[in-house]
């Protein structure tokens, strides 16, 4: 509140928040520290990595229980993940909170689009107190009814509050607009209409159907002895019983392609600026060109001197920041240009963004620009995997998306291997030229005409239920 900064890199979720690396000199190669991976007899995958710089331990767990399994009960994955902390077989909600707060330990449980997760951080000397709690939170939650009713009241208010901020909700509109009835269109939060109807039994059923050691993983990184930790985890998590059945992979259903430009205009009556995304379908996480796409996107919209930010911010002062990002999932993903501007400069800003996209296709970039992007991506890479928490997150991502440490260990050489010719191919193949999708959140009365210029417009009220 009392701070103002040069640049908000991520007004929205940025997946390729990358960084950079070296110039002409070779930087020291950055490698994933040694770790071990094994499975328990109940199917839970475990990763262990010792890191002794500070006496803390970070835990990250991933469970195939994300919003794609919500069905008609939009928001259920998120409330179920929060509900894991409403008490367990041996610990009440307040006991969990008191015990963890007393030792300065953190615990988060949350749902994302495809999976749900747990993260925790605590002093290594407290592992004996915290790990049994984490085990019960994942394996033995009781879903206390009173705690759920309190949480639901808070959630209903926060759903309305979120709509005060275009930045908070534009991604939910975007996913719904791009993916339509495909499960990737499901919102994480749900809406007052859906959440208002949940009962505690909905959470229990969602848990039973989706939480199971089979298909899940837990990564523990930090200041411990791996051999002792292995024994400890086997003792604790070995008793987590598999309940969930194998399910149909709903996310594998094909996504209906679009025929042309489409615009969603979300009216926010008191808006003084327009917040918008332009793009379309992006890539899957297992795309073999993943690293090359990151380098190309760095030039286009992935850093301060990117073409988008240079044109929309530095040259014209139309916005505080503009960027582009790919958001990859297992079976699909999106690509979006993201920025905001005052109501009256909406048209100029959209036009400029489209011009920059056009020049990416027409001009491509020269060797110097490519070299700069490679250096940047390599140079900013190591700080992404510096802390125990970041490394624990990396291990669970590796599990989820099925990549291994070669992603990290070969990152530098993969970046270096990108040629000018290949970058041209990347642009043609992955950056949209036409059939563009637009989501604009702003004051319809003032920007409706502008929106209509780009294609057929669908209008919504931000105050209407859902996205």
């Amino acid at each position: 509140m009392k701070t103002a900064i040069k640049y908000i890199y991520s007004a929205l979720t940025i997946v390729f928040i990358s960084a950079a690396a070296v110039a002409q000199t070779k930087p020291a190669a950055f490698k994933v520290p040694v770790y071990q991976k094994f499975s328990l007899s109940n199917g839970l995958t475990v990763y262990l990595m010792e890191q002794h710089e500070v006496p803390v331990i970070s835990v990250s767990a991933i469970i195939p229980a994300g919003a794609i399994y919500d069905g008609s009960k939009s928001g259920l994955a998120t409330l179920t993940a929060a509900g894991l902390q409403y008490g367990t077989k041996s610990y009440s909600k307040s006991k969990i909170e008191q015990d963890l707060d007393f030792i300065g330990a953190s615990l988060n449980t949350y749902a994302s689009k495809e999976s749900s997760g747990l993260s925790s951080k605590f002093a290594s000397k407290d592992a004996g107190k915290v790990l049994p709690i984490l085990k019960e939170v994942l394996a033995d939650p009781v879903f206390d009814k009173d705690e759920f009713e309190k949480e639901r009241k808070r959630v209903l208010t926060s759903l309305q509050q979120a709509k005060q901020s275009p930045r908070n909700v534009i991604n939910a509109y975007w996913d719904k607009f791009i993916f339509g009835s495909h499960v990737y269109g499901n919102s994480l939060t749900g809406s007052p209409e859906t959440v208002g109807k949940f009962s505690i039994d909905d959470l229990k059923s969602f848990y039973t159907a989706n939480y199971s050691p089979q298909g899940s993983a837990i990564a523990v990184v930090g200041d411990f002895n791996a051999k002792e930790m292995k024994t400890r985890l086997e003792g604790l998590f070995g008793s987590w019983k598999a309940t969930a059945q194998a399910r149909k992979n709903e996310a594998a259903v094909a996504i209906t392609p679009v025929n042309g430009n489409r615009i969603l205009l979300v009216n926010k009556e008191d808006a003084r600026e327009t917040t918008f995304l332009i793009g379309g379908i992006g890539i899957r996480r297992d795309n073999p060109d993943f690293v090359a796409i990151e380098v190309v996107n760095t030039v286009f919209g992935g850093r301060f001197t990117s073409w988008l930010n240079d044109e929309l911010r530095v040259n014209s002062g139309l916005t505080y920041g503009a960027n582009s990002r790919f958001t990859p999932l297992k079976n699909s993903g999106t690509f979006a240009i993201s920025t905001f501007t005052a109501n009256k400069t909406t048209e100029a800003t959209i036009d400029k963004a489209l011009q920059v996209l056009d020049s990416l296709h027409k001009q491509g970039f020269n060797d110097k620009t490519l070299a700069s992007a490679k250096n940047y991506v390599k140079g900013q890479f190591p700080p992404r995997y510096e802390t125990a928490g970041q490394l624990a997150g990396l291990l669970t991502q590796m599990f989820w998306y099925g990549f291994d440490e070669s992603y990290i260990n070969n990152f530098q050489s993969n970046v270096d291997g990108l040629t000018a010719a290949k970058s041209k191919e990347i642009i043609n193949k992955y950056f949209p030229k036409d059939k563009l999708q637009f989501v604009l959140v702003g004051k319809s009365e003032e920007i409706r005409k502008v929106a209509q210029k780009y294609g057929p417009v669908t209008e919504k009220e931000i105050k209407a239920d859902g996205f």
């Binding site: 040069k6 300065g104 002062g317 005052a342 125990a388």
Partner: protein
């Protein structure tokens, strides 16, 4: 009870394995007065450079409010050797990235880079510190950028609007009265001359502390500092901020209208600056009130009474006496007067009965974890080392902080609650849809 006792008997946990110690930070001061703090850390092949200038919105006056922050932007817009855009282009070409932030007290420039780029970073910094050039064209486009920054913050968070109103009321003479981003009409009207004067006054090397952490060698940092920065002449000490906020003698209330689902509320009490002896006790008080779901305010207002959906407190380091703030988001249907009363009830309990030994130990344990988090990354190290050096007068105080917190007693917390949480010392702000109520 037995288990608790054991933990208490262990007392304060001494961080034996934390590898970084105060003595690991090496310091030197150039002839022009610029002080360097260097911490070698080989965990990743990267390094950073944090430059803390002792200038923020407290150094402004009406007519140039927001200029510190605007100036921060202009530092990226061209100097003698590296013209407009080149600072960022050269840094990113060499694998580096940067950002900067401005507060009421300081302006901080942050560079993150592979260690191979360190000499380039020194060259870039030296160029803009010694010979910034203010291009009128860049001033104009940057005005648009900052107006957009101001507007997007107001668009996306009711807290900005309310916080601005509370500060403006709590501070009537001291420059914390205005916002860091500045008044819209000041942003539109300051001149090139204002900017040039600001640069001469506040951007001398002797008004700056530099922290470098990462896979560097102290000798190499020193060599580069001597080569690039030492030739820049020092400047006169900037005139100190002489305005002192007079004691507040009665409760102040401000109301802000904005359409929101439920009211947003802030309560601010005047409290002392970072170097004051009560700093650590107040910081512990803040954690007792709002850190974690077992904290007093969360458990009473959000969990039991369900009056609020969110409650937090903030007490941060500051050069001059500032505010201890409470932030509350009302639950649907709860009355603002009930919410206020609930906050005051919790405050009164501490004023009358103090806090329990267990609560105190809890917060001390949390402070140790915070300390570890600060040491987990090279960025955390630089930011915190610099913050302690600038606000507390000595980077060593960062390493002493766990011990300082461990000295605080239950009586200290009770005493500061009584001293500062007086009705006459507070400003209450409410933001809601119907301000006619």
């Amino acid at each position: 009870m037995k288990r608790l006792l054991t933990i208490l008997l262990l007392g304060f946990y001494v961080p034996v394995c934390a590898q970084t110690k105060a003595d690991d930070v090496k310091t030197f001061t150039l002839k022009n007065g610029m002080k360097f703090l260097v911490l070698e850390d080989t965990s990743i092949p990267n390094a950073n450079m944090y430059l803390f200038y002792k200038v923020g919105s407290r150094n402004e006056y009406p007519g140039i409010t927001g200029l510190s922050h605007f100036f921060e932007h202009m530092m990226f817009n061209g100097a003698k050797k590296y013209g407009p855009k080149m600072f960022d282009q050269v840094m990113e070409f060499n694998g580096g990235a940067n950002n900067a932030y401005t507060t009421q007290n300081v302006t901080v420039y942050t560079n993150w880079f592979p260690v191979s780029a360190m000499e380039t970073i020194f060259d870039l910094e030296a160029d803009r510190i010694s010979s910034l050039s203010i291009d009128p064209k860049m001033v104009e486009s940057e005005r648009g950028v900052v107006l957009s920054e101001r507007s997007t913050s107001l668009e996306n968070s009711p807290w900005s609007l309310l916080g601005d109103a509370v500060n403006a009321s709590a501070f009537q003479e001291h420059p914390y009265h205005w916002t860091v981003i500045g008044y819209e009409n000041d942003i539109k009207n300051w001149t090139k001359d204002d900017l040039e004067k600001y640069f001469k006054t506040y951007y001398a090397p002797n008004n700056c502390v530099v922290v470098v952490s990462g896979n560097v060698k102290v000798d190499e940092v020193k060599r580069l500092a001597e080569k690039y920065i030492a030739p820049i002449p020092s400047g006169p000490q900037p005139r100190p901020v002489h305005l002192v906020e007079p004691p507040q003698t009665g409760e102040r209330r401000v109301m802000v209208q904005k359409e929101v689902p439920t009211p947003y509320m802030m309560i601010g009490y005047h409290t002392p600056e970072a170097k004051h002896k009560d700093y650590y006790s107040l910081s512990i008080l803040s954690s007792i009130l709002s850190s974690g779901n077992s904290s007093r305010l969360y458990s009473s207002m959000v969990d039991q009474k369900q009056l609020a959906t969110m409650v937090s407190t903030d007490f941060s380091e500051s050069f001059d006496p500032n505010l201890f703030q409470f932030y509350i988001q009302a639950a649907a249907g709860s009355k603002e007067s009930d919410i206020e009363e609930a906050v005051y009830d919790e405050i009164k309990k501490i004023m009358n009965d103090g806090i329990t030994a267990q609560e105190l130990q809890k917060v001390k344990n949390q402070k140790v974890m915070e300390f570890y988090s600060q040491l987990e990354t090279i960025n955390g190290k630089s930011n915190n080392i610099g913050t302690y050096e600038v606000f507390f007068g000595d980077y060593r105080k960062m390493f002493d902080a766990p011990a300082e917190y461990s000295k605080v007693t239950s009586d200290d917390v009770k005493r500061v609650a009584n001293e500062y949480f007086k009705k006459s010392n507070r400003t209450v702000g409410i933001l809601k849809t119907n301000a006619e109520d």
